[in-house]
């Protein structure tokens, strides 16, 4: 069997950043495996601007952001296999892939970095009743058809879910001449970034229906209309609020889920709150030598954070390749009041990483609150916060001295006022 020091699965924003970081740290024998015909991942279809203000101090479009990393990978002579699908991952780090040139190949890696991205929750995941006509797409699928393949998917459009891709597609379809009739959001607040509420909906007078959902679709060959209903505080449709809307296209922007079948296959322990793997303060999963980062770990709202996190995971892999596993037994970093998830979710009190940024999200919008980081009764740090919303990822910083010698798990929580 062929052997390689490190394999990175996925050549998108996370995979490219991880690859460049490995090379810069002297890990030469690496392989990036990408299923698409070119590297760059989902950024290639995100043609809107707003990427890179943290990483490059510039406002770039998605493809321009990707191109910078593709160039860096080229300069570092990163080997990227395109049109190549990973079909198997084992706990002892054997990666099986398939492509048209080589057929099925197995490679043994000393370290594996999962940079596999996420997928969109499909219609089947939200149980809309009715027929099965053409014209129902996930927002990202429509985005790919329009921005990469150059096809419009419809003329009169309704969007279910106020996730960012849905909002961005509302604007994009409007610019291309479609009529976007409205956006329905199940929750009483928007799930998109505030800037997208402004520049994608308000700029084009597209109505947003909060606490509403699509309950049925109609049409034989092509979608003809949808039924929208208002929902109560338990998210159940309220009888009598049915409203029919004539549209030929329904876009679903109802959630992103880390792609996790390879992690499952390798027996990696999964975190039910992120639906991605549990990782420690070096981004190593529960299986030794397998690391995870990017949207395949938890869904981010900024690519800049994906880039940073993937570099951290690559540094974790470098440390593992050079020094092996951290010393001692790990302790949990766990969700406290109002916190829906924390990543990373483990640390090593006898051998902590230098500096760990814990990413978390709040459960419901809060005007103000105090972020409290504690271990048992000991308060490590507390920071006042304003305007906390579930759609915006928050950070909690842990320094080496904060973690060193702790005997109880760390809890990240919001003290409400």
């Amino acid at each position: 069997m062929k052997k390689v020091q490190a394999i990175i699965i996925g050549g998108g924003s996370a995979g490219l950043s991880a690859a460049v970081t490995l090379k810069k740290n002297g890990i030469e024998d690496i392989l990036v495996i990408e299923k698409d015909e070119e590297p760059g991942g989902i950024l290639e279809q995100c043609i809107h601007n707003g990427f890179g203000l943290h990483t490059f101090k510039e406002q770039l479009s998605g493809p321009a952001y990707a191109e910078r990393f593709i160039r860096m990978a080229e300069e570092q002579n990163v080997r990227i296999l395109l049109n190549t699908m990973v079909t198997k991952l084992t706990a002892d780090r054997v990666v099986e892939y398939v492509n048209p040139e080589e057929g099925t190949v197995q490679v043994q890696a000393d370290a594996v970095i999962l940079a596999v991205g996420c997928y969109e929750r499909p219609r089947g995941g939200i149980n809309i009743t009715g027929t099965r006509p053409a014209g129902i797409y996930t927002a990202g699928q429509a985005q790919r058809y329009l921005n990469i393949d150059g096809y419009m998917v419809g003329k009169r459009v309704f969007i279910l879910g106020s996730g960012d891709i849905g909002l961005i597609m509302a604007r994009r379809m409007t610019l291309e001449g479609a009529k976007v009739v409205g956006v329905a959001e199940l929750m009483p607040y928007s799930n998109g970034l505030p800037r997208n509420m402004k520049q994608c909906l308000e700029d084009f007078n597209i109505p947003l229906y909060l606490s509403h959902t699509v309950t049925e679709v109609f049409g034989k060959d092509r979608l003809e209309k949808i039924e929208m209903m208002e929902v109560d505080e338990n998210r159940n449709p309220i009888p009598g609020t049915e409203q029919d809307i004539d549209v030929d296209t329904l876009l679903l922007s109802v959630g992103l889920i880390p792609e996790n079948h390879l992690a499952d296959q390798a027996g990696i322990k999964m975190d039910p709150s992120t639906k991605g793997p549990f990782v420690d303060d070096r981004y190593m999963t529960s299986v030794e030598g397998i690391f995870a980062c990017g949207n395949g770990l938890h869904v981010h709202d900024l690519v800049d954070y994906v880039t940073l996190q993937a570099a951290k995971a690559a540094e974790g892999a470098v440390s593992y390749l050079q020094n092996g596993k951290p010393q001692g037994e790990p302790l949990r970093i766990q969700n406290g009041n109002q916190v829906s998830y924390c990543v990373p979710s483990q640390f090593y009190p006898q051998d902590p990483a230098e500096k760990v940024t814990v990413y978390f999200r709040v459960r419901t919008p809060l005007d103000k609150g105090t972020l409290v980081i504690r271990s048992g009764d000991k308060i490590i740090r507390s920071v006042k916060k304003r305007k906390l919303v579930p759609s915006v990822m928050e950070e909690a910083l842990l320094l080496k001295k904060d973690m060193e010698g702790l005997t109880e798990p760390i809890t990240i929580e919001i003290a409400e006022e």
Partner: protein, 120 residues
């Protein structure tokens, strides 16, 4: 008069408080960078946005090339700009930053390629 705005420059989405008197911006607060102040001023006078879309491309890996305006153009000209851009066809190869349409609709802003595409 005090206006509350959300800055659209980057995903931080800073919430800006703008004090306006007689169509003049007196003060801007809540921004975390100078772009926020510029945004607040233009938003209160004539809102402007970066436009991103695609143009047809021949001889490349894909049928369309993503394009972007180098700077903001007035929001009220965005639909007209889309009509102007719709007719543009380009041929590969294209390099990121290549000018696809100079001085779009007399705005003084160039429309440029958002990525490179080789000839295939």
């Amino acid at each position: 008069m005090v206006k509350e705005l959300v800055c659209v420059n980057c995903p931080l989405g800073c919430r800006l408080t703008v004090e306006v008197e007689n169509d003049q911006v007196i003060s801007v607060s809540g921004n975390s960078c100078p772009r926020g102040e510029e945004y607040a001023k233009s938003e209160c006078i004539r809102p402007a946005r970066i436009l991103t879309t695609t143009v047809r491309i021949e001889g490349a890996i894909h049928r369309v090339l993503p394009v972007i305006t180098e700077r903001e153009i007035p929001l009220d000209m965005v639909m007209e700009a889309m009509d102007a851009v719709r007719g543009i066809h380009v041929k590969a190869p294209v390099k990121v930053g290549d000018v696809i349409a100079a001085d779009l609709l007399g705005t003084g802003v160039n429309l440029v390629a958002a990525r490179s595409m080789d000839r295939v």
